[in-house]
Symmetry: C2
Subunit: 708 residues, 2 copies
């Protein structure tokens, strides 16, 4: 083994030149170690043959980590020039392992290994120069140039691990043993596993920007949960324990697999864990593929599976045991960690875990590192969680790497925790959160838990539907073009009118056509209960989710395909208390359910010119108000046949030869039951379409008082 691989540097300190030297060492050690990994390849051909069909050949990854530095440095303004635009274009982006259509070999005319080595040398010199010459202030903050330096180094450490997985998947003829990459030689029978009690407790995830270590965007923010007591397996599932499932025909029996798992299993023709090698000459008939060799099966090492195989094992185990066996949620993983390793793993070197490349270039027995009552709470192999990755509250993308995490907020990427024998730097910290598609392989296995509670399923997806995002931003986003927030303005106008002209009561308000609900929450500052109704279930869902979770996430188009990521929170808007006073319903303003009545105030903002029967709505709305109650209408009167048939328009045409406006129509229809007490008053609103394009409209507002 080479000299000890350096750990993540602190962002803090008093001596910036010492920090500069530390970072220089951290960089070169990482760059060196990455190049050393490729010495496992036996020949040049090994660089160009793909280990697995859905990913680039290793030549790409050899160049990629160097190019990443150059690209991010340019983006951050740390350098002006590219080194080699052709190579940097080729080495820029990996391939999403799911998108088999994307990878078209003919598009690539890879450079020679020697060319890439020379390129890496030039890149190394550039990074070295940047680290030596860029002004360095401590602590290093999220927006500082050295954050980008650390980003490049931590990115290379991730690829150190993922490339090692590809090398494990490469044909044996393409690899050769290497003294720096020696596996563990300890092996034996699998230890019996057993369930241990994990007591109930509160977990607190996430961190803030003052945290003294570099982190990826998804680690920041906050998330807390109360976790009930559960039981957890003492050990990670070993090859031996998993063999029971294989031998029991678990891969052939679809009843143990969920739909996604069964589909993958069929596609991949999987019949056993991917690194297991059937060999009739081997003891027990199985060998295990390591980095550069196949060894007799170490039954006491952790099994490596994808998430789907791990879930199938748990179902089988449940059936066998009669217990609710499943993977832990991310929260449960933390509860288990806090319980077994209070204060975290000691910062010893070598670590008291198969982590940091401190021990071997492979897994080791599952009972080798004890952490409290459990073993391998961290290290050895990553541990699949039942939780699809999601952003913590307060999540924001990093401006220099805005798609590191955000594309994985899709309910298809599950979290792995704990790190493996080759996890170093940020990867080795227990706060780090990596996520992969559930069918994907890493040096990852699992620990099962037993719990009657369903694992929490946080909402991860960013709302990307154009209309819904537009309205989310319209209601909860930044003021655009200097125009005040419209639903807030309408709610204030309504409350002011209620004070001046209302029935003196503040019990019940109705926000009809509430869309994503902002005005409903705003009205609930003043009214004891607010009902928000909209025809669109998708809009209603936004309001409901906000009332439930207090937060909302969506993307907005910026320019072309580029998007920005946004989180909005009721607490930031001072609306947390309102949430409990609002209920949202899907409904039709032209055909309201009987129960919606006895309101003190009804707000209908930007509604009537989108109704199919506005006259029916207007003729019957008085019956929904208490006597003396107010109706607040606002509309730009943008009548369009696609929403309202011409004969249903309230105005905006010639009648008996004269111009007949919508306001004329409102007076004629509402006059029977209402008195116009305020307006018409134009209230502007802006709907943002892209960073530069907006709809800017005036909504004519009138306030009508129901006669007693």
């Amino acid at each position: 083994m080479p000299s000890r691989f350096p750990r993540s540097p602190l962002l803090t300190g008093n001596d910036s030149e010492a920090k500069r030297a530390e970072l220089l060492h951290y960089f070169h050690a990482t760059f060196d170690r990455y190049e050393s990994l490729f010495e496992l390849l036996a020949c040049d051909e090994a660089y160009y043959r793909k280990p697995i069909s859905l990913r680039h050949p290793l030549i790409f990854y050899f160049g990629h980590t160097a190019t990443f530095f150059i690209n991010k440095f340019r983006l951050a303004g740390l350098i002006d020039q590219r080194i080699d635009p052709r190579l940097e274009s080729m080495f820029a982006i990996g391939v999403d392992e799911m998108s088999w259509d994307d990878l078209d070999d003919s598009r690539y005319d890879w450079p020679t290994v020697a060319e890439v080595r020379a390129y890496r040398a030039r890149a190394r010199a550039v990074v070295d120069g940047v680290i030596r010459q860029t002004p360095l202030a401590l602590p290093i903050g999220w927006n500082d140039p050295f954050w980008t330096v650390l980003m490049g180094i931590e990115h290379e450490r991730i690829h150190l691990e993922t490339s090692s997985v590809l090398i494990r998947q490469h044909a044996l003829s393409y690899v050769r043993p290497h003294p720096d990459w020696q596996p563990c030689r300890e092996r034996g029978a699998a230890p019996a596993n057993e369930l241990l009690d994990i007591p109930a407790g509160r977990v607190s995830l996430g961190r803030d920007l003052a945290d003294p270590y570099y982190g990826w965007d998804n680690e920041y923010g906050w998330h807390q949960a109360e976790i009930g007591a559960f039981r957890a397996a003492r050990h990670l599932v070993s090859n031996g324990e998993f063999r029971e499932f294989v031998d029991a025909g678990g891969y052939a029996d679809d009843s143990y697999w969920d739909e996604e798992g069964a589909a993958w299993k069929t596609y991949a023709r999987a019949a056993h864990p991917t690194f297991w090698v059937r060999d009739a000459n081997a003891p027990d008939g199985w060998k295990l593929r390591l980095l550069a060799e196949e060894v007799a099966m170490p039954w006491n090492w952790p099994v490596e599976t994808n998430c789907l195989e791990a879930r199938a094992f748990c179902r089988w185990k449940s059936a066998q045991s009669g217990l609710p066996v499943r993977l832990p949620s991310e929260d449960e993983w933390h509860r288990l960690h806090d319980h077994a390793l209070p204060g975290g793993l000691a910062d010893d070197a070598p670590a008291a875990a198969n982590l940091h490349l401190d021990h071997w270039a492979s897994s080791c027995p599952v009972d080798r590192f004890r952490h409290g009552e459990l073993s391998d709470v961290v290290g050895n192999v990553w541990q699949w969680c039942e939780t699809p990755t999601y952003p913590f509250d307060g999540f924001a993308v990093h401006p220099i790497y805005d798609d590191f995490t955000s594309p994985t907020f899709d309910e298809r990427h599950n979290i792995i925790k704990g790190g493996s024998w080759i996890s170093t730097g940020n990867e080795a910290r227990h706060v780090s959160r990596y996520a992969f598609r559930r069918h994907f392989f890493q040096h990852a296995g699992f620990r099962y838990v037993v719990s009657d509670a369903a694992p929490s399923q946080p909402v991860s997806a960013y709302e990307t539907d154009t209309m819904v995002s537009q309205y989310a931003e319209f209601h909860y986003g930044d003021a655009a073009l200097g125009v005040p927030n419209f639903p807030q303005a309408m709610a204030r106008l309504a409350s002011d009118a209620q004070r001046r002209h209302g029935n003196g009561q503040w019990q019940r308000a109705l926000d009809l056509g509430c869309a994503t609900g902002r005005a409903s929450f705003e009205l609930a500052r003043d009214f004891a209960h607010v009902v928000g109704i909209d025809f669109s279930a998708r809009f209603i869902q936004i309001g409901s989710r906000l009332a439930e979770n207090g937060s909302l996430r969506y993307t907005l188009p910026e320019e072309g395909e580029l998007v920005s990521y946004h989180e909005r929170r009721l607490d930031n808007l001072g609306l947390s208390e309102s949430a409990g006073r609002v209920t949202f319903w899907q409904g039709d303003a032209c055909n309201l359910k009987e129960g919606f009545r006895d309101f003190d105030l009804i707000l209908a903002a930007n509604l009537i010119d989108r109704l199919y029967a506005p006259r029916r709505f207007l003729e019957t709305i008085a019956g929904r108000l208490k006597p003396g109650g107010l109706l607040v209408l606002a509309s730009p009167y943008t009548w369009l046949e696609e929403f309202t048939k011409r004969e249903e328009w309230i105005g905006g045409f010639k009648k008996d030869g004269e111009s007949y406006t919508t306001l004329d129509g409102l007076k004629d229809i509402l006059g029977e039951h209402f008195t116009l007490v305020e307006g018409p008053l134009p209230v502007p609103f802006v709907i943002r379409e892209t960073r530069r394009k907006h709809q800017h409209t005036l909504s004519e507002t009138t306030v009508w008082k129901r006669r007693s």
Copy 2:
């Protein structure tokens, strides 16, 4: 005959109570005379049977003129209440004689004649009260309440004439002679016609708001023209002269009829003028239908035709004579009027013309009233002109009657001039301009002229295409939402850049994607010659028309179907001098013709994200500039697949894993030949969609200098 029918009152004066009395008399005399016309009807059934199928029965017109007062008075705020909403809805709108689908008898349940008489009495009392009680200041201006009073009276005088036409078209059994409506009894052989020289001269049409008589909207504004010498028939075409055409088989020979005329002739099965009645027992086989009787054909009276018949006669006459015989243009009619009646018809009573109802309730011989060398320059029957009606420069609709004229600006309504025996009030003034569809009948005939010059064909139509109108307003209209005019701002920015960074020359500028051309005109303040190029021929047409006529008219959507009418003029924008320095071409920015080169400055505002091949445009644009010339780009970078295929986008996507903005793309493409010398700078623009709805966008502006 009753006592002399009062003439149009002056709007001016010093004694408002005397004016009030005069107006009261003018009103009652008109209201009385209108009712007297209906005494020609022989029975109640005559009110309900339609004289012609495409118009309402006379009961409608009996009520309509009264309702008109009430409706306009309400609109003007002179009264608060309707008299009878049911009747007023029925009597509100006539029927466009072209729209035969619209008239559905079943929709009408007409009131009795007695009811309408009673209604008219109530309306009379209301109008009387308004005239007596409304404050009256002199002179009476366009926006004064008494303008609306005069509008109602003049409107009734129009219907006095048009209803008399319907009565002439009614079955004889439904009419009866009346002492107040006695026709001329003078008749004889047709006088020979002959051509007289009308010398060249300038005509000046239109008037301003200070004119001392009430007028309709289309009379205001200004129009001047130089008219070359031509020849005009001394007399209106008489029944006798027209008979030659009838006898020659003119109605059967399609070669004399234009397409529109032939279509009408077939539809109407026309074989002779509409008021001619074939009667084998009559002398010569023909009689003429007057108001309430058929009389032996007065061959020396003017023939009455529609415009299509008059044109056919002229074609036949051309063929017979070998001369270029045609109808006069409106301008030629004025030239002829100014030549024969300099200073206009004397204000004598009775008039020296068959006008004002001063003489008979019918035409009279064409040589009865001599005006200079000609006869019947005004009066007897209206005279069809070759000119479709159009607005004078400076035209604006009247707010209380915005659809009096504007719907006739459609190239389908031709002007009639001169008035008939029953034309009174405004109708009898030679400045008045009435227009009817060319197939329509009035007490109208024609005088032919002989000229080699083609009659001028002014553009009448308001641009109503949504996109073109939007851009016309965007370029030439009012500032919306407080945002300065965008093409003007862009041109100023371009000129400023030229001063700071340009090649010191101001010869040639190119406005690429010029749309309706405002920036081209603005650039021509500074550049000696400006070329405006756009892909849209419809946009280019707007710019070209402006350069040619100096004015532009369009409608804008206000609310629903309601529109507003707008005229924009280069002189008001201080751009009259620019017009001569701008040429517009239809062209494709991605494939420009060779000749467009050697420019000192090229402006491309809001262009690149609407091109199908923006890269090709950007790669080749340097070759169009002189060395050191400037390229001014502005765009919101709103890339859409409908305009630009995804692979053609310049930016707005992830490239090599990083956000690649359009500005990045511009730098990469333009960098070869250009240096970025200014920007990026956001310049806002607003496109008005309705009175309340707008697009509000920021266009990112950059200035690039071509390296020498």
